[in-house]
C-alpha cells in the first residue's frame, strides 16, 4: 500500500483483488445449519449420508463393471463371427 499526494493510502490492484476474493469467502467458523439439531439427529443424518454416498458409489461401480463385461462379451462375439 502506498501514500498519494493528499496523504490518503492507495491500494494496489493486487490488494483490491485480494479484498474482493476475501469478501466472498463464506465464514466457515459459523454454522451453516438453518435448524438446531439434537446430537441424535446429527448422528442419524451422518449415518444416512454415509449410506447414500456408498450406494451412489456402488451404483456407479455396478454400471461401470456391467458395461465392461457386456462390451467384452460383444467384442468376443464379434471376433468369433
Amino acid at each position: 500500500m502506498t501514500e498519494n499526494e493528499t496523504g490518503k493510502s492507495k491500494k494496489s490492484v493486487g490488494e483490491m483483488i485480494e479484498e474482493v476474493i476475501e469478501s466472498k469467502q463464506p465464514d466457515y467458523t459459523q454454522s451453516t445449519e438453518t435448524v438446531r439439531l439434537t446430537p441424535e439427529q446429527e448422528k442419524a443424518r451422518s449415518r444416512r449420508n454415509v449410506v447414500i454416498a456408498l450406494s451412489l458409489v456402488g451404483f456407479m461401480v455396478a454400471v461401470f463393471a456391467i458395461t465392461v463385461v457386456r462390451l467384452s462379451q460383444n467384442i468376443a462375439a464379434g471376433a468369433g463371427a
Binding site: V35, R36, A44
Partner: protein
Amino acid sequence: MTPSDNRAEGEAVSTASPRDYFDLMKPRVMTLVVFTAFAGLIAAPVDADPFLAVMSILCLAVGAGAAGALNMAYDADIDATMQRTRKRPIPRGVVSVANAYGFGVVAAILSVLLMALASNYLAAGLLAFSIFFYAVIYTMILKRSTPQNIVIGGAAGAFPPMIGWVAVTGEISLDAVILFMIIFLWTPPHSWALALYKSGDYAAANVPMMPVAKGAKSTRLQILLYSIVLVVFAGAPVLTGLGGAVYGATSLGGGALFLLLAWRIFRSRAGEAGSAEEGALYAVRAGDKAARDLFAYSIGYLTVLFAALIIEHAFGAYVAIPGVG
C-alpha cells in the same frame, strides 16, 4: 446454544437410521424374492455370466424392496392400526410418508435401469411392471376394495422366478410361466391362513380380506380348494422336464403334507375364535392353530420346491423321470 444462535429447533429432522430404510424394503419378502428368482435363473437352460446373473438378482431384490417401500408409504394408516405392522418405520414415526415414497421411487428407477443394463429390456420391463402391479394395482386399488385382493395381487409376488428366467434367456417360455403359476396359486392359501388367525387385525383396519368379507367357513373351504389346485399344478415341472426325480419326490411329499394341513384347517374352526390380537406373527389362540401351522408350513413348502430345482440344475442332481417330460 450460544446467545446469538437464533436457529429454529430441528424437530422435523428425521432420526431414521439406514436400518429403518432397509426395513421399509420388507427384508423377509426380499429373501423369498431373491431365492425364487435365483431358482428361475439357475433352472433356465442357458449358461449365464455369473457376474451379470448376480447383478440381475440384486436388481430384483432392490426392485422388490422399492415396491415394499411404496406399499408401506401408501398403507401407513392400515399399518398403524394393525398389531402385526404397527412397529414398522412409518407408524413408529421415524420415517415420513413422503420420504418413504421418495426412497421407493428412486430405488425402483435405479433397479429397473440397472436390470436393463445387466440383462435385457424384457426382464427390465417385467421388473418395472411387477413393481407397478404391487404398488398401484394391488396396494392402491385391490387391497381395500375386494376380498380377491391377494388372489389377483399375488401375481406381483409370482414374477421373480419368471424375471430370473427371462434375465438369462431373454424370452418367456412355458417353464417360466409354470414357475410363475406355482407362486400365483400358492399365494391365496398362504395369505388366507394368516388372515384367518389375524382376522380381527384386518377387520379393525377395514381391509376386506376373505375371512373378514366372506367369513371363516368360506375361507377355510377356499384354502382347501386352492391347495388342491396348487399341489396338482406343482407337478407340472416334471411333465415339461424342468423338474427331475428330486423335484418330483419333493413335490409329491411336500404336497401331501400341504393337503393334510389344508384339510385340518377345513375341519377346524380356525378364524372363528377371534384373532390373536397381541403378539408376533406366529402368535395364535388355540382354535387357530391349524391356520398358523399351514401359514408357517406354506413358506417351507415353497422354499423346498424351489430348492429342489436349484439342487437339480446347479449341483448336477437332475435325474429325468423315465417316460415323463
